[in-house]
Symmetry: C2
Subunit: 249 residues, 2 copies
DNA sequence: TTGATTCCATGATGTAGATCAATTAATTAC
DNA sequence: GTAATTAATTGATCTACATCATGGAATCAA
């Protein structure tokens, strides 16, 4: 098809699955909840974390695994999903550098509720959740920032509940593309490129639809000039028009 | 219809909209995040809270209002909802005594994302969000408990996203009734009474369906002996069978 | 360069549940 | 006790989108 072309999504970047110890201290200081701590504090915190690399597609942990570790994304993108009995996934969130996932506190009876999977090559910083709790005990200002971030996440999840409950498929897809553009977008040829590989199947998993519906809707948006896309990529070309679709319920 | 009868949901209880100052210190100590603090700490915290009563149906705050205050439910039940352009509501959560809502931290640009409304007569404890943040600064062990509760809330919201994305209406309704039974249920005639007034319309708002679909499904469940219900009430009578429906996707 | 694989697009058909409508029953007000 | 109102139930019809199927194009492997 005419509009399809080679993906402009940049999938090079550092080979994240070989993330460097040198980066760890630098990245820890850049995590929003440790930002502003003293060098001494970061040095101490640093000793508890390890960096772990994952190849694109690799599962970090499965839903149902005992929840023992806290993670922060240092580089790359991580997706959180749940699995339906039908074999279909529900894609709950895509996490970018600085965001966290996993277990916040040690609770023996808890399992991970979602599967975490590397969407791209990923470097993650990881710590045992008991040690993370100790870290928050030692640095309560960090705990308060994590609390704020968690409140933001709850709000985003509730917005998703609202979308799924009250919008039709086209509206949900437009709304989700806008959110992805806000979170992962970079300027590109006058529009906003959603800067991660995103298949029609994944878009469907995020919007409570099927691959065919996502593909039809994306094709219609392309035909109308709202977006441009191809294999595993989408760029928003008419932001205002896409917003109109998202708000038209 | 035969199974319908006068609601067994107890709507008496204290006239919550006239909640007593005497109760405040007692209730503060029972909030999960202040539980365990010393009497002296509770005395100090107590000075910052006010108790506020709301009649059933009264709106505590509207979505879009500037977010200035943190609330905890002392007595009664509060519902959080968002409003679609169609006029329909999406019912995001029903909060019980000990649960919190509102603004966790003072952020000038923030509005309340949801409307909070008294489902029953409600007594709430309220504090300015800047003062609440100061309280968490002073008592970081409380912040960590709030963090855990927030993580639980995020997990519940994600489960709701999963339900809405991957289940059909009957399954979602069964699943939601089970959750309501867990959270708000009390033993009643060998079953579990969902102990709050709950209309078919509200059940529909919680499950992404319409009133007619909720009513049809509830009638089918009654016909099969899974539940018993009437005007604004539902009791689960066959827990195992309802679980089977919820898990049958 | 060619063949295999994966992803996307499009068409046809079926259905879950929304929409619209009317009726019944419970509750409230007088 | 009666009338009005509210909530729930049930029926008929319509539609958004899932399901099933097929073909095309991009990408990868040999």
């Amino acid at each position: 098809m005419k509009a399809r072309r080679k993906s402009p999504v940049d999938q090079t970047g550092i080979e994240s699955q070989f993330c460097s110890i040198d980066l760890r201290l630098k990245i820890l200081g850049e995590l929003p909840f440790f930002h502003g701590l003293s060098s001494q504090a970061l040095e101490e915190i640093n000793r508890h974390f390890v960096e772990v690399g994952y190849a694109a597609g690799e599962v970090i942990y499965h839903a149902g695994d005992p929840a023992r570790r806290f993670y922060a994304v240092a580089d790359g993108k991580v997706k959180l999903l749940q699995h339906a009995l039908s074999g279909r996934n529900v894609l709950l969130d895509i996490l970018i550098p600085g965001e966290f996932f996993g277990s916040l506190s040690p609770r023996d009876a808890m399992d991970y509720p979602d599967t975490a999977q590397a969407q791209t090559p990923v470097c993650a910083l990881s710590i045992n959740s008991a040690e993370f709790r100790t870290t928050l005990d030692r640095y309560p200002e960090a705990a308060l920032i994590v609390l704020d971030l968690m409140a933001n996440r709850l709000q985003a999840a509730n917005e998703n509940v609202f979308r799924l409950s009250s919008m039709e498929a086209e509206q949900r897809i437009a709304s989700t593309l806008l959110k992805l553009g806000e979170k992962l977008g970079r300027s590109h040829e006058g529009g906003i490129l959603i800067d991660l590989p995103l298949s029609r199947d994944e878009l469907a998993e995020m919007t409570g639809t099927t691959t065919e519906t996502a593909s039809r809707t994306v094709s219609q948006f392309q035909a109308k000039g709202l977006i441009q896309g191809g294999r595993q990529w989408i760029a928003i070309t008419d932001l205002d028009a896409l917003k109109s679709v998202a708000q038209s319920g």
